[in-house]
């Protein structure tokens, strides 16, 4: 009896604690956002004017249309490219597959704005490739800025999500399903459409949504390469940041519109997936076959070209970071001048990144494990609510989160604006879902009888959680935490709204260095960030013995 009570107490305390944290740092800011979007900037009275203003001026609503144009194009392209590569790589033997996969994961996990800025270095007005074509071939390349550039950069990064998702789904298809289709008379192309495609469709939808949300919320890419082509996050940012105070309500209204859109998409996708859901467990997965003929050659070219294009930004930043600079221009000799400058001027950004990242990841791991545990093992109304709330970060674009937090915590009783705490909170909220999801996934695989066995042997439930359950959860927690960690240190869209001179991180500094056109220091910082990402990944692969990352 005594022990039963203790267990009840501990998890109740945790549940209440988490519920309060969510209320204060997520629900309250969200409502602050909604409230402020209906406020008149001068009088503070209730008004619809902010929304009316948005829909009545072409300059504003064009941002929404542009966002949709970009996002839809990116999603379609990413799905086409990502799923074809996944299909080819899983059905045929491709030389260098492991290497390609690592490159794909690296390009997936690096921040998109590095891509944007590298493509500017290459194909921008003054870009290396642009100049090469102009000077040696006399060809004037079409400008990379605007719609084309955004779509290029985002597609080259986001197809990787589709690739990983679809690869995972393809591995789950038991070959006997495909053989069954063949035995019933299905030709190779038919079976792709009648069996393989429907089986991966739910995954494709989930991946598509992820890509859509990412493309919709991305701030760095359109800000750097978009120029006149304004999209929603850029609009929100400039309304909020440029004219201090006065436009906050309008920015809040824009944010509210975005949240509503993402919410609708999210619910729609959940609804479709629930209707289409079925479980697959594969005893024998597909064995890659040898390639034959011309199709093989084209497939090789296609895959290697796409992967090469998506890794170009990294090569570019690493290479240019080692070049000497004169003013804004790279010269042809090598030098570590950029690195020296970075450490002189921006050393704090580096320490901030690691420090905040570390603190955020510790909080994320604990929260992730606890929330996963209470929502799978201690089902009740409150934990279900927590479970649902923990989905919210999926639908909140980074810049919106930034504005939410600022609006909520720039006044009493809790003033956090400008502090490192608010940065860490933003990181935790944005990147918690990765760890949470993988923790929950592994909990479903751990039989409850493990815990019961431990308790039956005389270990208290709380102790059992730490000694048995938590330990067994670690591999799953770890694989989510690595994603959280890497995406935390690369976070830009929320930090760019929340940072101050003392709390700037590497991502923010890269962004502001690019804006100031000091490409040398930007390249050096990007290299440090990219290398951190790669090293984290390699450590993860080494420790987990895996060669893939689960989303």
């Amino acid at each position: 009896m005594d022990k039963g009570k203790l267990k009840f107490d501990f998890w109740t305390i945790i549940t209440i604690l988490i519920a309060s944290l969510f209320t204060v740092f997520l629900i309250y800011p969200l409502f602050s956002l909604f409230a402020s979007s209906f406020k008149d900037p001068l009088t503070g009275a209730f008004t619809f004017n902010n929304f009316i203003r948005f829909f009545s001026k072409k300059y504003y609503y064009q941002g929404l249309i542009n966002s949709f144009l970009v996002t839809t194009s990116v999603t379609i392209l990413a799905i086409l490219i990502g799923s074809s590569i996944a299909y080819i790589m899983n059905t045929y033997k491709i030389k260098g597959k492991n290497f390609l996969e690592i490159l794909i994961i690296i390009s997936m996990l690096s921040p998109p704005f590095i891509g944007a800025y590298s493509w500017i270095l290459l194909c921008g007005r003054n870009g290396i490739i642009t100049r090469f074509f102009l000077n040696y071939l006399g060809i004037k390349l079409p400008p990379i800025y605007g719609f084309v550039g955004i779509v290029l950069v985002l597609t080259l990064r986001l197809y990787t999500f589709i690739y990983l998702y679809v690869s995972g789904a393809l591995k789950k298809i038991d070959v006997s399903l495909i053989e069954a289709a063949e035995s019933l008379g299905s030709s190779p192309s038919k079976k792709v459409f009648t069996i393989v495609f429907p089986l991966i469709l739910p995954t494709l939808l989930a991946g598509g949504l992820l890509v859509f949300m990412n493309a919709l919320g991305d701030f760095g890419t359109p800000m750097l390469i978009g120029e006149g082509f304004i999209v929603m996050p850029v609009l929100i940012y400039s309304e909020f940041v440029s004219e201090v105070g006065g436009e906050a309500n309008f920015a809040a209204a824009l944010s509210t519109i975005m949240v509503l859109i993402t919410l609708l998409l999210f619910i729609g996708q959940k609804y479709i997936i629930n209707k289409k859901s079925f479980t697959m467990n594969s005893l024998r997965s597909m064995q890659p076959k040898e390639f034959k003929g011309l199709i093989g050659v084209f497939s090789y070219i296609f895959i290697y070209l796409v992967v090469f294009l998506s890794i170009i930004p990294h090569i570019t930043v690493i290479y240019t970071s080692l070049l000497n600079t004169r003013g804004q221009i790279f010269t042809n000799e090598f030098s570590i001048k950029s690195y020296k400058l970075v450490f002189q001027k921006l050393g704090q950004a580096i320490t901030n990144t690691y420090l905040y990242g570390f603190l955020a990841i510790v909080i994320i791991v604990f929260l992730g494990m606890f929330i996963a545990y209470i929502s799978t093992r201690k089902r009740n109304i409150l934990t279900s609510v927590i479970d649902t709330i923990s989905m919210i970060p999926y639908i909140i674009p980074g810049s919106v989160l930034g504005i939410m937090l600022l609006l909520a915590f720039n006044k009493k009783p809790l003033i956090l604006s400008g502090t490192s705490i608010i940065m860490i909170i933003a990181f935790v909220i944005r990147r918690l879902p990765y760890t949470l999801r993988s923790s929950a996934a592994i909990l479903y695989q751990i039989s409850e009888s493990m815990e019961e066995a431990s308790i039956s042997l005389g270990c208290s439930p709380v102790k059992t959680f730490f000694k048995i359950t938590a330990v067994m959860m670690l591999p799953g927690v770890f694989s989510g935490a690595i994603l959280s960690w890497i995406t935390v240190i690369n976070e830009l869209s929320a930090s760019v709204i929340l940072y101050t001179a003392n709390t700037r991180t590497m991502s923010v500094s890269i962004y502001s260095e690019v804006i100031r056109a000091s490409y040398g220091t930007a390249a050096a910082l990007s290299t440090i960030l990219t290398l951190t990402t790669i090293i984290s990944l390699l450590i993860f692969f080494k420790l987990s013995g895996k060669k893939e990352i689960s989303m």
Binding site: D174, S176, L177, E179, A180, A181, E182, S183, L184, G185, S186, S187, P188, K190, K191, T194, I195, P198, L199, L201, K276, F278, T279, M280, L283
Partner: protein, 372 residues
């Protein structure tokens, strides 16, 4: 239309390892033919070669007279039932069954008639619109069977279709499969490593070991007259004892180590005087008499219908790795039961027992067919 399957000198290799060295087999039109053998002997491999999912490294496989080696699986018109059923998870029961029919461009009304017919045959009418996730193992099995036979395949291939079911359901489904197969009269190749299942279901059985066919025959022939020691111990259990053939005035006797001997009229003419042989006796082929092989009861186990005794011969020698012999008493017909430690005399039935050459490779009973 159903066809016969002719397998001629077929070879299967994975890289350099030879799985099936040279296998020939003729499966008659309309029969239920079982491939039986221990794990890893190549049953699945052979079945998948017939299906077209595995390449053939040598020899030919024909449906009737047509060589099918290079016809891709989806054009062979086969029906296949997979070990894990392979029901398409995104389609309902009905959609699963329609799948093959749609590919054959069967008109709508005919299709729904066929689907209804087959659902009735496998007793799944009421599950038509369910998704497979919500079906039990036995029900999924029926859907898999229905899906395979509704297209009227030339041959039906089944790879351990019952191995995922519990014991009771296995027996139920086994007769269901047999009934349905007989009703539609389709050539069926059935793979199992369960000898009891093979005996119960098959018209004929091929016993395979290491990719080589040991014997082909009707279940009864295989059980009563196994072609070699492997078959005699793999199909049912057999007690193996050493013995010596004695020929006296044309009368053949079998002499055991303890001096006991019996007259064996069924021995073939190729046996020689003083030839050392392996005698194979099934547990039910012993009877308790005043004379016979002298044995001691080690343990007795009560099974309800019969009692199984583990026994140790006192002087006769058991072949290699058998540690004890077995003897069963049918409860319905005997009156005397034995206890551990009892010494009794077991008399083998000369009409029933089998005698093999010293190497265990050949049955020395007259007219035993290796290929029946």
């Amino acid at each position: 239309m159903s066809v016969s399957i002719n397998i001629e000198n077929v070879i299967k290799k994975y890289d350099r390892t030879i799985i099936i060295p040279n296998l020939s087999l003729k499966i008659e039109n309309g029969e239920l033919f079982t491939l039986l053998g221990p794990s890893g002997c190549g049953k699945t491999t052979l079945l998948r070669m017939i299906a077209g999912f595995t390449s053939i490294e040598g020899g030919v496989i024909k449906f009737d007279d047509k060589v099918i080696n290079h016809i891709p699986a989806h054009k062979r018109n086969i029906g296949m039932v997979f070990q894990n059923y392979a029901i398409f998870p995104h389609m309902t029961v009905k959609q699963n069954i329609e799948y093959g029919l749609k590919l054959r461009k069967i008109p709508k009304d005919e299709m729904s008639r066929k689907v209804d017919e087959i659902l009735k045959l496998v007793k799944m009418e009421s599950f038509k619109d369910r998704l497979p996730e919500r079906l039990s193992g036995g029900q999924q099995q029926r859907v898999a069977l229905a899906r395979a036979i509704v297209i009227h395949p030339s041959v039906l291939l089944m790879d351990e279709p019952l191995s995922n079911l519990d014991a009771k359901l296995r027996i139920e489904m086994r007769s269901a499969i047999r009934d349905i197969q007989k009703e539609i009269g389709i050539t069926t190749v059935y793979v199992t490593h369960d000898q009891e299942e093979a005996l119960a279901i098959s018209d004929r059985i091929a016993v395979i070991k290491d990719g080589i066919i040991q014997q082909v025959g009707k279940p009864k022939d295989i059980y009563t007259r196994p072609s070699n020691v492997f078959v005699s111990t793999f199909v049912g259990s057999s007690n193996l004892l050493w013995g010596i053939v004695k020929i006296d005035n044309g009368i053949k006797r079998l002499l055991f180590d303890d001096g006991f001997s019996i007259q064996m009229n069924k021995l073939s003419d190729e046996v020689k005087d003083n030839q050392r042989v392996i005698v194979s006796i099934r547990p039910e082929e012993f009877s308790v008499k005043d004379s016979g092989i002298k044995v001691k009861i080690k343990t007795s186990t009560f099974f309800g219908r019969y009692i199984n005794y583990q026994i140790i011969p006192i002087e006769s020698k058991i072949v290699n790795n058998q540690h004890y012999l077995e003897f069963t008493q049918d409860l319905g017909h005997v009156h005397e039961f034995f206890n551990e430690g009892d010494v009794i005399y077991l008399f083998p039935n000369p009409e029933k027992i089998n005698v093999f050459t010293e190497d265990g490779e050949k049955n020395l009973i007259r007219d035993v067919k290796k290929n029946g």
